[in-house]
């Protein structure tokens, strides 16, 4: 059985207009990698949105980062500060990986 390592999965669901900023934040905070996933539609306190809309700015995108607990928390807090005024969702959960050094 190969050894596994516990990491944190950080997910940030953010308006399209802000993706670039979040990615540069992640980079400047030293994230090793990230993956951006598309979202189709959604709703929350700030109302409903859908990807097919004429106004791409309201659409949302999910940004996934896997990192060591410390790093993940740091990234999460930095993202939280950056996005304080925005309709966003930041999630943290546990995840296991095989390569300890990749994150």
């Amino acid at each position: 059985m190969r050894q596994r390592y516990v990491k944190k999965r950080l997910e940030i669901i953010v308006e399209n207009a802000l993706v670039r900023r979040v990615l540069s934040l992640l980079q400047s905070e030293g994230a090793r990698g990230y993956t951006v996933l598309p979202a189709s539609s959604g709703a929350g306190d700030a109302g409903a949105w859908q990807r097919d809309d004429i106004t791409p700015a309201l659409g949302r995108t999910a940004i996934l980062v896997v990192a060591d607990e410390d790093q993940a928390l740091r990234l999460a807090e930095a993202a939280y500060d950056l996005l304080a005024d925005h309709a966003t969702m930041i999630l943290l959960s546990d995840v296991e990986v095989f390569r300890n050094d990749q994150y």
């Binding site: 802000l18 004429i54 106004t55 005024d85």
Partner: protein, 324 residues
Amino acid sequence: MPFLDAALTNLLTPMILAFALGVAAGLVRSDLSIPEAIGKAMAIYLMFAIGLKGGVAVNEQGIDSRLVLALAAGGVISFLLPFVAVALIRLLSPATDIATRAAVAAHYGSISVVTFLTAAEFLRLSGVAFEGFMVAVVAIMETPAIVAGLWIARRGGANPSLADSGALFREVFLNGSVVLLVGTFIIGWIVGPAGASEVKAFFDTPFKGVLTLFLLDMGLLAAARVRGVGGISVGLVVFGLVMPALNAVLGGLAGYAIGLSAGGAFLLAVLAASASYIAVPAAMRLALPQANPGVYITLSLAITFPFNVIVGIPLYLAGVQALY
């Protein structure tokens, strides 16, 4: 009654009927929808096509001082209209918070490319000529209103997040529509009628059909926003109907004053009357996140756009023609 005739002529084109079909399909909640990628591709096609056409027209007609005047007028109008708008909102809907007020104002200073295209087709149908360089005016009017809107917000105490204002202004001034309109305008200018004839069969001949399909999509999207109307005040709805008419008067007069043809003045009126729903919402989400997008998107897309396309366009032309 020539106005009613004109209104009917406008209404009974495949384009406007396709818009109506989209609205109807959306209102009955049909699952008809046009994929996002297709909507985006049609928008790119339409902007490429009119940019090119405008540039070719300038290549043929040469530049004269009116081009410079029209660009200047467009920029000034786009910057000033938000001040008119914000005053009107304060009057009609005093409860609206300052951030939302400023954001709405920015939308009405900026423009809607599809409204412009529909108006230009209406001119062609009516046999009225216009200056080819008006396309450049479209590009120039996209963004000054954003600056005005943010300035209004800051003055009113709703601090826009300008922390990263370099990035913001790059994103605003280099947004896709502006780059595409300006870029293809320059291409058209360079290649002229001979060069453009190479791609005419793609960018010109099927143009109206693409616009028709695009208006079907606009109808679907406008209808999807109609539910939002319930969430905004009556005063704001009135604003969404009065503001375009008022802006059209200002735009038309400005066009007249700087010596545009009747067609050109009409298009300036339409640009003034139209409200943004692409570039400005993006900028507002970045810089004024406190403003309520439910208000500005609904006003722009579900009220002002249909009003302009169905009632406004023939009305503004009648008005401008009365002037000439």
